[in-house]
Amino acid sequence: MRFQLIGLNHKSAPLEVRERLAIPESRLPDTCRDLTAFPGIEEGMVISTCNRVEVVTHTTNGHADLRGFLHDHFHLKAEDLDPHLYEFRDKDAVRHLFRVAASLDSMVVGEAQILGQVKEAYATARAVGAVRGQLDQLFSRAFAVAKRVRTETAVGSSSVSIASVAVELAKKIFGTLQGKNVFIIGAGKMSELAARHLMAHGCASIFVANRTYERAIGLAQKFDGQAIKFEDLYSTCDKADIVITSTGAPHAIFRREHGEQFLARRKNRPMFFIDIAVPRDVAPEMAKLDGIFAYDIDDLQQAVTSHVADRRKEAERAEAIIASEVEKFEARISTLDVVPTIVSLQDHLETIRQAEIDRVRGRMGQLSPEQEIAIEALTRGIINKVMHTPITTLKSAAKESEATTVVDVVRRLFNLQVKAKESSEEAAVKKDEVGTRR
């Protein structure tokens, strides 16, 4: 197990730093490719959401220079970035990833979006071949653990997600949401969810604008809303009371002068901007205007802090699940490490057995079917008996620290050649066979 994870999140880094590291969806495949091309990295993938950027890798020796990768890739100086980074290895990396997927490390503990985001990041990395054996195992397990946490604890129930916090805030501004209009800018998953919440609370109609007009139409149809061309954004935005914006624009798309225009056209009726984009879409200068209430992703975090406290208990149960799952995973992965050796040992002995049977046939001539069966049973029995102790020893050694030494000794004793990069997927299949062959 040579997992290494480096990253920063909403707790370790302010929005300003996260903004500089955020990777747009379109550039994610390239980043994954760059990552796997980096020295010492066998497999790697990147999770980039509004609240976190994390690089998860499986390395050749467990000591890849991931900080160096981040400095090179984002052209950032070590002193700017390093104070905000956390780094985990092996078991700690597994635990961290399980916690992220199970939404225990989220800004809003228990919110469901993060699992979807991790799944998407995984799919992207897998598509470009950056994730193969070990990470594949790790992520499949992480998704299963997340599901277990969700079903066995109440962490995810009555979810205080960003969406529901947004609804509460909107109610603090508008009282009732009946008859209010919602404008979605940037057709992302999170804004769609927020919009769904708002509509469920009585919002009247919805407008959708997106750089790709077709996506805007697609989303608008879901809500029976109206798609707006991106160039008409500023002329129509004032019709909305609540604006959910999540574009990937590198700079703020709403500046102070836009806010002033909107308010003038709205006769100063207040507007609520839910800015879930990183970098932010609403300029801080505009948020200062009377009548403009803009909450960015960090503000929403503050607003939900109190709710998070209520969930601490459930989160503790979830942590216990995670701890036991980490142990299980570690044991499984370690067993996988010895599986190739067991398989080649079996193959080696099988080859010897076949060769010896052929030699006997050559000496004794044609054998009767009964004799064939007897020889087959005899040789197989001997081999299985001889193999039993080494295999058991290998399997139990796998769970301890001397696994590598034992594996090494066995390989030398029998002169075994194990393919260096045999995929764990194949190994897993063979592991099952090991069990059935005996």
Binding site: V165, E168, L169, K171, K172, I173, F174, G175, T176, A264, R266, K267, N268, R269, P270, D290, G291, F293, Y295, D299, Q302, A303, V304, T305, S306
Partner: protein, 270 residues
């Protein structure tokens, strides 16, 4: 006897006053319920006091004593109407102290009365007083709403987690309370001033616009009108509306103070 009832009412309003100060720093559902019931009880005593005064036949409409008592009662009545519609006691933060102050002054005896012995048309005078005071009560409420609006706006802008659990009503609800009070108060204020002019015309045969009382009243009315207009025309709210409301209230207070030195509309010894 009427004074005794009024002092009972004052005791009840005192609880409201304490609530107003406490509510500025913390939220308590229980206390807001206690304050509301105390205020309701105070209103009952207040009503008894006013009725008794009226039935005794000794009522001097134009006395400061009775006038302030009436204004306090009307302000409370407005507060109750708002409570019935919006189920919120938060305007009490402003209304309770004002009502307490007015009742307190009214409950202290020996007030000077207005020089109204020459007034021939008592009906116009009563109409003038009731209309103007209703206008004032609405103004107090609108002023209160605009201050609460500022507080709530600041809370929401500060983005602290408490902004979600704040006891204040939603921003738009506060805005509605303020705007409706404003709209309701304006015709009363206007008619109050007109009936006042009628009283002045019938008593003195003229309206002296240079008289400080009348000058300040007209100024107050003008700012009131500007408030209604800016709100209707460009939706002024928040800081700008609070600024105008404060100005109007200051003008109203100045107009009240002018009773002490106006030639046409002043206090004298009873």
């Amino acid at each position: 006897m009427s004074l005794l009832w009024l002092r009972f009412a004052l005791g009840c309003y005192f609880i409201g006053l304490v609530y107003a100060f406490v509510a500025l720093s913390r939220t308590s559902d229980l206390f807001s319920r206690i304050a509301f019931h105390a205020a309701s009880m105070g209103m009952v005593f207040h009503f008894v006091s006013l009725t008794e005064l009226f039935l005794s036949g000794h009522i001097v409409w134009a006395s400061v004593h009775n006038g302030e008592s009436l204004l306090a009662f009307l302000s409370m009545a407005f507060f109750m109407v708002i409570y019935a519609i919006y189920q919120t006691t938060s305007p009490g933060v402003v209304v309770f102290p004002v009502v307490f102050f007015l009742t307190f002054v009214a409950a202290v005896d020996q007030q000077p009365v207005l020089l109204t012995q020459f007034v021939s048309h008592k009906g116009w005078l009563i109409a003038h007083i009731v209309l103007i005071f209703t206008g004032y009560a609405a103004l107090v409420l609108s002023f209160g709403a605009s201050l609460i609006y500022l507080v709530q706006e600041r809370r929401l802008k500060s983005k602290k987690p408490t902004s979600l659990i704040s006891f204040l009503p939603a921003l738009e609800v506060i805005d509605q309370i303020g705007y409706r009070s404003l709209l309701l108060g304006f015709p009363f204020m206007t008619l109050g001033l007109l009936t006042g002019s009628v009283v002045a015309m019938t008593t003195y045969g003229r309206v002296d616009f240079l008289d400080p009382k009348i000058l300040l009243s007209v100024l107050m009315w003008a700012v009131y009108m500007v408030m209604v207009f800016t709100r209707w025309n460009s939706g002024w709210r928040g800081r700008r509306a609070a600024f105008l409301a404060t100005f109007t209230v200051v003008a109203a207070l100045a107009a009240w103070a002018a009773n002490y030195f106006s030639g046409m509309h002043r206090f004298g010894a009873s």
